[in-house]
């Protein structure tokens, strides 16, 4: 029932985006696509947060996804956005699978700082890497879809629709995962790990799985952001980028798998408006916004949409 409602809402949003796209200005399409990309990363953070883990380095996988997309263009001449997102997810998931053996052993501040350290290692490597453009970064090939290159007027809309479709699919899969016994262990792990082990489940395995799924989502997000912006640089792995994702996740709340996308959209709007009004103090506006949410809506913006327990 819950799943059906989530599916319905997502379906409506998807149709609305596809339908309204041609009517929207270019900047709105751009903002919406970036919101989808960052929403995917925040969705990964949500998975971990439900198990009580805060990753301060999710930008690692966001950046990996982006550089995977960039490398596909630079070394293999591939600009297909779906392939970029798929490759971004696979590369991120693979790296997370390897690093997960280490990360799944840590909790709390150690998990957070270790993930942050790993993202800064990637940042350091990219800055030193001439082949990948060092601090200047690299340009992404013009986006194509199934071998077709959309014209200048429609490309933003096409990227948005492709991003929405992929995000829709990913969110459905995450929703399904949350309904499996392994997915449902999140709250139990957060509350009492010893009891989880004594029920016959492996906490480490469950956390490892969440870590890999979160990385795959972030990888997709990074690839989508890369093809949307057309340029990537090592700052995508910098710790402030990770902070942005935590900001979005806290802003949105963790009650629903749709919340991260809403959070990312609102983050984008606040950011844009604040920057427009006062370019030098936009961080202050963002900070105040987050402060208001934490004080008045401790469960995030999603709690505005009914206080029932969601998926």
């Amino acid at each position: 029932m819950k799943a059906d409602r989530t599916l319905l809402i997502l379906g409506i949003v998807l149709l609305a985006v596809v339908g309204a796209g041609p009517l929207l200005p270019q900047w709105a399409l751009f903002l919406a696509t970036i919101a989808i990309a960052k929403g995917l990363v925040a969705l990964g953070l949500l998975l971990q947060l439900r198990a009580g883990l805060v990753s301060f380095g999710q930008a690692l996988y966001y950046c990996l996804g982006a550089y995977t997309a960039g490398s596909l263009g630079r070394f293999f001449d591939i600009g297909d956005m779906l392939l970029q997102m798929l490759a971004g997810a696979l590369v991120a998931a693979f790296i997370a699978f390897v690093l997960g053996f280490l990360l799944a052993r840590y909790r709390g501040i150690f998990f957070g700082l270790l993930s942050l350290a790993l993202s800064m290692i990637l940042y350091g490597l990219l800055v030193k890497s001439q082949a990948l453009g060092s601090t200047d970064g690299i340009n992404i090939l013009p986006s194509t879809l199934f071998g077709i290159r959309p014209n200048q007027e429609s490309v933003r809309h096409v990227v948005l629709v492709a991003g929405c479709a992929v995000a829709f699919l990913a969110t459905l899969l995450v929703n399904r995962y949350l309904d499996t016994p392994l997915g449902q262990l999140a709250a139990a792990i957060k509350d009492n790990e010893i009891r989880v082990e004594y029920m016959g489940a492996s906490v480490r395995e469950a956390i490892h799985a969440k870590y890999v799924i979160a990385a795959a989502l972030s990888g997709i997000g990074g690839a989508l952001a890369a093809t949307t912006v057309g340029h990537i640089d090592p700052d995508m792995a910098y710790w402030t980028t990770s902070g942005e994702f935590i900001f979005i996740t806290i802003l949105a709340g963790t009650r629903s798998v749709i919340a991260p996308f809403l959070g990312a959209a609102i983050f984008g709007i606040i950011h844009t408006v604040a920057y427009d009004i006062s370019p030098n103090t936009w961080q202050m506006t963002l900070g105040i916004a987050l402060l208001m949410v934490i004080v008045f809506l401790p469960d995030g913006l999603w709690s505005l949409f009914g206080r029932r327990r969601a998926a």
């Binding site: 016994p181 449902q184 139990a188 509350d191 009492n192 010893i194 009891r195």
Partner: protein, 269 residues
């Protein structure tokens, strides 16, 4: 009767503290064994070693002939040895019903019956019914239906205790280790609670070891007593024999028996 569980010469030291010295015990199938001893005598250490939470320095533990000494708690649980806790180990943000469902989910998953691609509602192994029905059945058996949708955080102490024990039943244990099932429960409610727990456990056909400080409860429910003192088992016999053993009276039940006499208005023996 057939042996299900056997501890052979378990030794465990925590620094200068000796928690187990040459502890050996053979447990028969379907028996009910009471573990007694003062605080720090080694009862919980014994349970922790059997369930794999603590590894003995030497000695071994065998379950149905298999050496399980090195297994971690989750593996021990999977093969059918479950435990409850002296201080209930619950999930504070989950409701009573959700506790059951999460536990049953783990059982289903371990049996390969629930995963990302599974559809429908398979029967839980050992229970012969889908998870929701099994959950309701366990809640009824433990008198928890009135608390079904309450969060564990707000449950009264006695109910927390019951939920802690009820949660062990999802895995259909062959051996159940209850660590002080009646601690924190009022004297009047102790017997009612033990009756309920033992009825539920017997219905599931489990062998039971329980830690208990109340000797009345022990003599009523246990068919056999293991008395611990200073990390050793000083008596292993039926309650009517063990509880009058001079060493046990001196080191373990002396205080308890006196208190019992006082409560019943009898002069001290």
């Amino acid at each position: 009767m057939a042996l299900v569980l056997e501890a052979r010469g378990l030794n465990k030291r925590f620094g200068a503290v000796t928690a187990a010295t040459n502890v050996s015990a053979a447990i028969e199938q379907n028996s009910v064994v009471g573990l007694i001893g003062t605080n720090g005598a080694g009862k919980t250490t014994f349970i922790n070693m059997i369930t794999g939470y603590i590894k003995p320095d030497s000695g071994s533990i065998h379950y149905q002939g298999r050496d399980i000494t090195a297994l971690p708690p989750r593996e021990v649980t999977r093969i059918g040895i479950c435990r409850s806790f002296q201080i209930p180990q619950l999930y504070s943000s989950l409701s009573v019903y959700e506790h059951m469902m999460v536990g049953l989910g783990v059982v289903l998953r371990n049996a390969g019956l629930a995963g990302f691609f599974t559809r429908g509602r398979p029967n839980v192994p050992g229970h012969g019914a889908p998870a929701a029905a099994v959950a309701e059945r366990i809640l009824v058996r433990f008198g928890l239906t009135d608390y079904r949708d309450r969060n564990a955080q707000v449950l009264p102490g006695g109910v927390r205790k019951l939920l802690d024990i009820a949660l062990t039943m999802v895995a259909k244990p062959a051996i159940l280790l209850l660590d002080e099932p009646t601690s924190g429960v009022s004297a009047e409610e102790k017997f009612g609670m033990m009756e309920m727990v033992m009825a539920a456990v017997k219905a599931e056909g489990a062998t039971v070891l329980f830690v208990e400080h109340d000797m009345e409860v022990v003599s009523r429910f246990a068919g056999r007593v293991l008395a611990f003192y200073d990390g050793r088992i000083i008596a292993d016999a039926a309650p009517e024999i063990a509880l009058v053993d001079p060493e046990v009276k001196r080191y373990v039940v002396g205080g308890a028996l006196r208190r019992m006499d006082e409560r019943e208005g009898r002069p001290n023996a």
